[in-house]
Amino acid sequence: MNPSIRRLGAILVLLGSLVPALAAEAKLMITMMPKAKGNAYFISCKAGADKAARELGVELLFDGPTDSNAAKQNEIVENWITLGVDVITVAAENKEGISTALRKAQKQGIKVITYDADALPDVRSFFVNQATPQGIAYGLLDEAARLMGGEGEFAIITATLTAGNQREWLKHMDVRLAEKYPKMKLVAVRPSDDLKDKAQSEATALMSANPNLKLLMAICTPGTPGAAEAVKQAGKTGKVKVIGLGLPNENKRYVHEGVTESVMLWNTEDLGYLTVCAAVALAKDEIKLGATSITAGALGTFEIKGDNILLGKPYIFNQANIDRFDF
């Protein structure tokens, strides 16, 4: 048994020698938790966060569940409480689930910021909101107007006719249409049940029912490639333009083929960058509730509305820039 004990001893000594390696630290310690560590969306958030951490001279810990798992998010928050970090930033998988752990962190003086997906309002100081309903609605409609020259018929493919967030976007679009684009006509809003196939058949039906259709707009992510496929198969590339919300990777092909003009989402790198900037500002007491703006390094100034820090307008991915993004 001696060899095994000796081996065990060697391992213990090895592990032990690692421990003092964490020397005294004066740097601020900021943490960032994604919903899932391997998700390309969050990896690109991390790229922005790393950049901000480098520029601001803070230490950034980035850890999260390997799968989207609310229980594991709690465990990692517990670990960070043990470490005694300065600010915890979280994209919450489960609003209620994470809140107990975050409340405990706050009790120990650790500041909390949420980004991407909010927790309960009382367990965090600010939520870095990647896109307001108005921002999404106006962004999409302005892009449509630009492509259509401000006039003509267009149709919308939505998730379901009852979906809360989509309905809110549509409401904002109606306002914007009446105010700014009176010559544009929304001929139909069709549901796709968040399925690419359904979106494709709805798009095909819309094109044959409305021969003057100039543009299809999808306001749910499966709808955008679905509509593009329909336009491509109908041989109407360029005649009926496609725009919509979506992840760059799902739409790259259609954008390069010229079927889809542009895809909108927020710039996830900027989301990570802004979140870390906000965390550092919070740790240094540079922003408090009631502040109306925050300066985030190279990105400039962002608006704060109540306890929401707004990333601002959605980001437009098109032929010129879509290859730079991988998520």
Binding site: M1, L12, A21, L22, L61, T66, A70, G84
Partner: protein, 345 residues
């Protein structure tokens, strides 16, 4: 083997696998107590040495511990039950549905959930004993079946939450000093220990594990005994489901995913032979503790947290611990073989 005859009782106890495992556990605990207890940079006393953390370890071990207890008799009969994690998920969903959609009170819903767990185990038992199908295949099937049912009931989207505080008390609070669920875990542990080590049934389980045909010729009711351990396994999985739901405050279709493998690891680490016939409940409990202390302890080491890899490290080291312990357990055998060879040469 002739050398063992000359050794005193003490030496025998020292060489027992459980003793080795206990030593590993103590070393582990002391290591984490030393390196994992700190006053952190906010001046708060934190980490492994706090009473809170020790209770947390107990709290977090209860579900895996129950499943490991359920699996010990199963593995003793040279069987396996891969469906316990999925059954835990299904039972959690059933419990949530009975309570919220069925309008039943918590005790009634809990009782029905336990019945459902036993029925789930009964399905395994029936397929294994009546149709004489291999346990690995049967429970691989029900592993998918139970999880699939849980997902179908919830459409993979519904999560049952907002359980009353009186129920969450079971998973999140303390009663008489200990985490509440420990008061459920300990009697189950005692009952399984008694069954395996204190009854004729327990001895017959080992006999079946060594040789089912031999046991049958010896007049043991093999089918009934085997059926019993699978039904028991299902029942205990349902108990674990209730504790899990109370601890997290939510029942979701993915509850307990992968738990069967953690439980099997604990049982095997505890010295129970995967081929059946040999093993002990004490070993299983030590195995559960060794893994729980390792997992929780790692997460208190500042260096590990700062590597952003607590989860990965605990997986790796659990595996390493298992391999190390298994190597250690056959070391005496290797040594005696070597000695015999030297004497022969």
């Amino acid at each position: 083997m002739s050398t063992t005859d000359h050794q005193s009782g003490w030496k025998n106890i020292l060489l027992r696998y459980e003793t080795l495992l206990l030593a590993v556990l103590v070393v582990e605990w002391l290591f984490f107590y030393h390196y994992g207890t700190t006053t952190n940079r906010r001046g708060v006393f934190v980490g492994f040495g706090t009473l809170d953390r020790q209770f947390d370890i107990l709290r977090h071990s209860c579900e895996i511990g129950l499943l490991a207890l359920a699996l010990t008799p199963v593995i003793l009969t040279a069987g396996i039950d891969l469906s316990v994690g999925s059954l835990l998920g299904l039972c959690a969903i059933l419990f949530g549905k009975l309570w919220r959609d069925g309008g039943l009170t918590i005790p009634v819903a809990a009782a029905l959930t336990l019945v459902a767990g036993a029925l789930g185990g009964g399905l395994n038992a029936g397929l294994i004993t009546v149709l004489r199908l291999p346990p690995l295949i049967v429970t691989l099937g029900t592993y998918s079946l139970f999880r699939g049912l849980a997902e179908a009931i919830t459409h993979g989207a519904v999560t049952y939450t907002d359980f009353p505080a009186s129920f969450l008390f079971l998973g999140q609070e303390r009663w008489l000093g200990l985490p509440t669920q420990a008061w459920l875990f300990l009697p189950v542990a005692a009952a399984v220990w008694l069954l395996v080590h204190g009854t004729a049934t327990g001895r017959s389980l080992r006999a079946i594990g060594f040789s089912p045909e031999g046991a049958r010729y010896a007049g043991l009711p093999v089918e009934r005994r085997v059926a019993l351990v699978y039904v028991l396994s299902g029942f205990i999985a349902a108990v674990a489901a209730l504790i899990y739901t109370a601890r997290l405050g939510q029942a979701k279709a993915d509850a307990g995913t992968g738990y069967e493998l953690f439980a099997i690891t604990a049982v095997v680490l505890g010295g129970t032979s995967i081929f059946g016939g040999r093993g002990s409940v004490t070993g299983t409990l030590l195995g559960v503790a060794a893994i729980a202390v390792l997992k929780s302890g790692l997460a208190t080491l500042p260096v590990v947290i700062r590597l952003n890899a607590a989860e990965e490290m605990s997986g790796m080291l659990t595996g390493a611990l298992l391999l190390l312990a298994l190597t250690g357990s056959i070391l005496p055998k290797i040594l005696s073989t070597l000695r015999a060879r030297r004497q022969a040469g």
